[in-house]
Chain length 328, copies 2
């Protein structure tokens, strides 16, 4: 087996990214580190593979990153973390936003062309077959999406959503609404299923509220959903994300409905929980960690490592927007 | 004078980006459009310059974009619009976030290397001398920053900030506070000066509140500023941006202070005005237009056009968070 960056890193007692950087951006490291790494590379017969050579020549010294919506705080956080991690490895990030359109995703991958050595895809809606075709051409890592055979980083919010349902059931809630995000994202399906399944297991009722139009934005979607929520008879709602949950809080406030007295509200992704009044019970998504992990996974693929999938834990953080049924 | 893309576009009756695309991504256009454009290019003797040739070979078919904070909604909106405009021209966007550090900006420009044909810099804090050095090496367009000799796109929020002060003075306010953003951004200086100067012209008092730490984020900064605001004796506050203004509203709500009854609040950039209760009076920054204009300016520079500066108008939008002094 050919020596990889990882072998060199282990022997030198440094990180893989330090080894990578010793070849690509030696001026960023202490001279003695560069000397040790290059000596060990020679010793173990490390030869950069074509993609790794791209790192050195600069032809593939970029990570491609495709996200559905650059103006969403959630994806902006992911981009920011991925870009910071890539920079540590001496790489730039070539980014494209697709507005969730599968067509645009394929275009963006083609457009990156030889400028990127691999692509991180946050692709909530592209078909699995299409993703597999993309992954056949170049290293691909998926974020918050699982497709057999393609390495991925997934934040496991479903388990925390189940914990939220447990919290609500413990508080005496017997009917829990789920307010979806727009357009059938993969993670939306996971969260919806978690609410339904956990409610069924606990013998309480789940109600899935109608989707709203993506173009409105999450906050406006949440405001708009309030009449349906009130009509549903649910005393608690789990929203697809914090932006939507914040909109629900705003709409309930406008309607004079007490939170959590009459309706308890749970968000997801923990992007603006502390900006809400009452402060929002939410699920910490750690999307920054996911962005960093995705870059690491992609760099390791480019070094010839086998693909693997990373599952990051998520956690329910209970704040002020949830309480016992009928507390108000 | 050599023929430029613009000449070809005018003769062919199509946009500059269509001409650009006819050379770089002909498969995206109707075959008859490509045929007409290339025929006219031959006719007028259009020869792509080295950078434009890069467009065709793909070596410089990217726009570099540097923003201080990728996780801010304001810059995410700019990135999204720039990226959409670049895609129309068959270009990718290579993006870097710098957390506002001038060091990182220079690194990012170096790192883009030959992969970009020009750079759009949202550089609120880098020195003018440094920006000039960057612009000497390659086409550079600044956003919301003016440096003599470098083309720029500026959203003229200062005029709208003056209009906000007029509104407040008309409502009987005699002491107006300005709540700065962190770290002395160029646009912060513009807005601060506008408040001070307009107050002086109207014979009312301006108070500049202390800055807060950038790491906290705008909303938390706004919440934190509330005790100082109350202590200042001001009956109205203009905040550097909407995130900060939203935090002020939250903090005033926590303190039981009526808005606009006791304190009127004005935001800037209009990024989350409708999500606030009361709905925030704010200044529409049109940052999407700025992102698009910056890409167009950069593409025209790369086609050999002379640099120019674009000033986009901003507008005060009066909503519920402002009212006459002492209305409550």
């Amino acid at each position: 087996m050919a020596a990889t960056l990882r072998h060199v890193a282990e022997r030198a007692g440094v990180s893989v990214s330090t080894v990578s950087r010793a070849f690509s951006h030696p001026h960023l490291l202490a001279p003695q580190t560069v000397a040790r790494v290059t000596a060990i590379a020679q010793e173990v017969g490390y030869v950069p593979n074509p993609l790794a050579r791209g790192l050195i020549t600069g032809t593939a010294a970029n990570v491609g990153l495709i996200v559905p919506n650059l103006a969403s705080r959630f994806f902006a956080e992911l981009v920011k973390a991925a870009q910071a991690r890539a920079r540590e490895a001496g790489q730039g990030v070539l980014i494209a936003g697709t507005d969730g359109a599968a067509e645009t995703e394929a275009d963006a991958v083609r457009q990156f062309g030889p400028q990127v050595g691999g692509v991180i895809l946050c692709s909530p809606r592209t078909t699995s077959a299409r993703l597999k075709a993309m992954a056949a051409d170049r290293p691909v890592v998926l974020v918050n999406r699982r497709v057999p055979g393609i390495p991925s980083v997934v934040v496991d919010t479903a388990a925390a959503v189940r914990a939220a349902v447990d919290l609500l059931a413990d508080g005496g809630h017997r009917r829990v609404a789920y307010l979806p995000g727009p357009g059938k994202a993969w993670s939306d399906g996971e969260r919806r299923r978690a609410v339904r399944e956990r409610c069924a297991e606990l013998g309480i009722e789940a109600v899935v509220l109608p989707e709203w139009e993506q173009a409105k934005g999450g906050h406006a979607g949440g405001v708009e959903a309030v009449p349906e929520l009130l009509a549903s008879g649910a005393t608690a709602v789990v929203a697809f994300d914090d932006a939507i949950a914040a909109g629900v809080l705003t709409g309930l406030g406008d309607a004079g409905v007490a939170v959590p007295g009459r309706i308890s509200v749970v968000g997801c992704d923990d992007m603006q929980a502390l900006e809400c009044r009452p402060r929002l019970t939410s699920i910490t998504g750690r999307i920054g960690d996911a962005g960093r992990s995705a870059v690491e996974l992609l760099l390791s693929l480019r070094e010839g490592a086998r693909g693997r999938s990373v599952r990051l834990p998520a956690e329910l953080v209970v704040r002020e927007s949830t309480g016992p049924r009928g507390a108000g």
